[in-house]
Subunit: 102 residues, 2 copies
Amino acid sequence: MDLEKSIAALNNPVRRRILEWLKDRSNFPPALPEHADLDGVCVAYIQEKAKLSQSTISNYMGQLKQAGFVVGERHGQWTFYRRHEENIRSFLAAFQDEMLKS
Amino acid sequence: MDLEKSIAALNNPVRRRILEWLKDRSNFPPALPEHADLDGVCVAYIQEKAKLSQSTISNYMGQLKQAGFVVGERHGQWTFYRRHEENIRSFLAAFQDEMLKS
DNA sequence: TCCATATATCGAAATATCTCGATATACCGC
DNA sequence: GCGGTATATCGAGATATTTCGATATATGGA
């Protein structure tokens, strides 16, 4: 858990908004029938909502993944990203600790 | 309370370390006798500990102040900075909310 | 195998941040 | 008012981030 890298990943409004969107799958278009059983959202849907280029969003998801806030799972040609709630919580705990603990 | 500006202010290891140091006055040299009753730490002491230039530290303290994490109180030629605990807590609450709230 | 689709990576231009030294401002004591 | 000290602001060079289009890689289907 690298606080430095985590904070840097969150120091961007679009990346934070993506993390918010990923709280609820219904923020995105419905999954294809063959993906109905899979968790997470593909890059193209995130891109469409964020209105930034494909390469930018792929890069952003890479940063969020490196920081541990999301996991990406490849299924065929698609990568499905979803939040890693445990890592998010432990980041927040560590951050709060640094900010408040005497 | 501007989450954007707050996170940017914290996206720097020295500024975060300064906030940590300010938790405890004894991280710095003792105050001058005539300042014994004052709270906070002068810029020069922070600069000495951070080992960065005076202008950089003044700039950093300005950013932390703009974000609401510290207050600066002028007494004569000195500005004494101290943490604004309430603002720090409410930032953390808002941030945690953005990160976790469904 | 060849083509189409989804994602990742590369290289670059625009912009922002970091950090400094120099200078300005504010205040104190003489 | 003048000189000295503490802090703030300015301008600039170095570095990092943002964001893009182009290209590479991976996969699935005809």
